[in-house]
């Protein structure tokens, strides 16, 4: 995680002098010290014992370097920790899915085209909507659930960096992993997850991809991902149909952006790029804003009871997903993981696990 020795000493309870000697190879940690280091750095301890394991420490360094490059700022310790936790959750989710023999609901062929073109974004968005049984005139209700059903690991965690919308990792064990910045606007996150999904589809060969909020210059990889996200969330047939009856005033943009659960700006831009409005009209409506309080998070169902809404909010605030929490409790109840492992997989304290178990009505 790039802790200083002093911070590592505080986190591990191991003397700084001893940590220094581990680093230089002067002495070896004992078994418990190795486990403590694995716990603090959120790694499977077996990777420290095997020379054949994937070099996760190098991958983390590369990730932080790329994140710094993409955002133009150095990555804070808090964000390094959030990214480390995200990788840990993806690996744990993969492990528990294997233990429980959970199959993907939808089968989709991820591929890397030989030549890069932004139109691929539009074409594949249409194909994917077809695979997910989403009619052209229907809004995808919970995009997060749908993408998880394609087998990607997806978490929303707050990142301190305002310049980072999300990132994609092709994890050597867990596979395609998407992290979305939970600090961002709810509809912006929804666009970001579709954008990161495009990287998962097209750019797995990159291994790691960090998406900055604002870009410098033209980047075709990012443009293709934006095109995919726009066409996946705002299918052209819907716009065509609506344009027969709408002049696309600011009020229209706000009303339909809310129905599509995208920002007014994203809808206005889609209308412009697909020639449903002129550039003059675009200038008039591109500032149309949906009031923040009216925005709906797809992972917080509006028709649920107050207790369920509170539970869903708590799970999201902890950077977990309802899918992940249920998976962990299933793995525990079916005897695949112990209570201690349940606690560590949820990254929660004993008391928090008890509270969560009560809320999700699981016996622990």
């Amino acid at each position: 995680m790039g802790f200083t020795l002093e911070v590592a000493g505080n986190r591990t309870g191991i003397a700084v002098n001893a940590l220094n000697q581990f680093e230089t190879g002067a002495i070896e940690p004992n078994g418990d010290e190795l486990l403590i280091l694995a716990d603090v750095y959120l790694k499977d301890f077996t990777i420290y014992l095997s020379s054949n394991s994937p070099d996760t420490l190098d991958r983390s360094k590369e990730l932080y370097r790329l994140a710094g490059e993409a955002t133009g700022e150095s990555i804070s310790n808090e964000d390094r920790e959030a990214i480390q936790e995200f990788e840990f959750l993806c690996e744990a989710e993969h492990d528990m899915e294997e233990m429980l023999h959970r199959a993907k609901r939808y089968s989709f062929h991820f591929f890397t085209p030989k030549q890069l073109h932004k139109d691929q974004g539009e074409e594949v968005a249409r194909q994917l909507r077809g695979i997910l049984d989403l009619p052209d005139d229907e809004v995808s209700p919970n995009i997060y659930t749908l993408f998880r059903q394609l087998g990607v690991h997806l978490f929303r965690r707050p990142l301190r960096s305002r310049s980072m919308s999300g990132l994609f990792i092709m994890h050597p064990v867990a596979g395609r992993c998407l992290l979305i910045n939970y600090e961002e606007d709810v509809y912006r996150q929804r666009f970001s997850v579709a954008h990161e999904m495009a990287h998962a589809i097209f750019d797995s060969a990159l291994g790691i991809h960090v998406s900055p909020k604002t870009r410098r210059g033209v980047d075709l990889v990012e443009l293709r991902a934006d095109t995919f996200a726009s066409h996946f969330l705002i299918p052209t047939p819907i716009l065509r149909e609506l344009s027969k009856r709408r002049a696309w005033t600011s009020e229209d943009v706000v009303e339909y952006a809310q129905k599509l659960r995208v920002s007014g700006q994203a809808l206005a831009y889609a209308l412009l790029k697909r020639n449903f409005i002129s550039s003059e009209r675009y200038e008039e409506v591109r500032q149309a804003r949906i009031p923040r309080d009216n925005k709906l998070d797809p992972e917080l169902p509006v028709d649920s009871s107050p207790i369920h809404a509170l539970l869903a909010q708590k799970i999201l605030d902890k950077g977990l997903s309802t899918y992940y929490v249920n998976l962990a409790f299933d793995a525990y109840e079916q005897g695949h993981i112990s209570r201690g492992k349940l606690k560590s997989n949820l990254l929660l304290s004993e008391a928090e696990v008890m509270e969560l178990g009560t809320l999700v009505r699981r016996k622990i």
Binding site: S338, R339, G340, K341, A351, E352, E355
Partner: protein, 206 residues
């Protein structure tokens, strides 16, 4: 009827963090066990889980417990131990890294190595420890409650007190403690009956 034999309990234990909190959340329970000759050891990883790890005790006031536990460790009443890297390189252990917590693994390995019992309240951790080659004796705090009741070192009201003290920390083992207590009392009753009623007197050795 439980398969747990409340007439026997190994006095030397390596406890995982969950079992230690369950034991230590009730000072009278811990004191009764110590008075009955039980002694405890924790590994350095469990010490880290209890005192250093950031999420430990979050949401509950564990500071009093931590202070008391720390005093016991400083006084040498609870001893500290380490496992070695070689201990972790057992194929059976490596295969369990996805299923068990590191605290459980560290504790059961030290218990095996030191010939102490492994004290855990997690059924799946106990199951794995039992399946280890050269498995240690595996026991739980409900087993300890039953044994103390059987030994007359803990009364029914004492058990109710333990349950209440645990509950104040959001820990709930009441069903298991009460069941252990009832079953141990049944064994006591059986022990006091004449031999002709079919009681195996040899089973009542502690």
């Amino acid at each position: 009827m439980s398969s747990t034999d409340y007439t026997k309990f190994a006095r030397g234990n390596t406890a995982d963090s969950c079992a230690l909190w369950n034991l230590f959340s009730s000072p009278s329970f811990y004191a009764s066990s110590r008075a009955a000759g039980c002694y405890y050891c924790i590994t350095r990883f469990v010490q880290y889980e209890l005192f250093t790890k950031q999420s430990t005790g979050k949401g509950q006031d564990y500071s009093r417990l931590k202070l008391g536990l720390n005093n016991e460790i400083s006084a040498g009443s609870i001893t500290l131990a380490n496992i070695e890297i070689n201990d972790l390189q057992d194929a059976q252990v490596l295969a369990r890294s996805r299923h068990n917590s590191m605290g459980e693994i560290s504790s059961m390995l030290f218990a095996r190595k030191s010939r102490l019992a492994f004290l855990s309240d997690d059924g799946w951790a106990m199951k794995f420890a039992t399946a280890l080659r050269d498995a240690p004796t595996v026991q739980s705090t409900p087993h300890l409650v039953g044994w103390l009741v059987y030994q007359n070192a803990l009364t029914e009201s004492g058990v109710a007190g333990n349950v209440g003290e645990l509950a104040s920390y959001g820990r709930s083992l009441h069903g298991r403690y009460e069941l252990a207590s009832e079953q141990a009392l049944e064994l006591c009753d059986a022990k006091d009956r004449p031999k002709s009623q079919g009681v195996d007197w040899t089973a009542s050795q502690s």
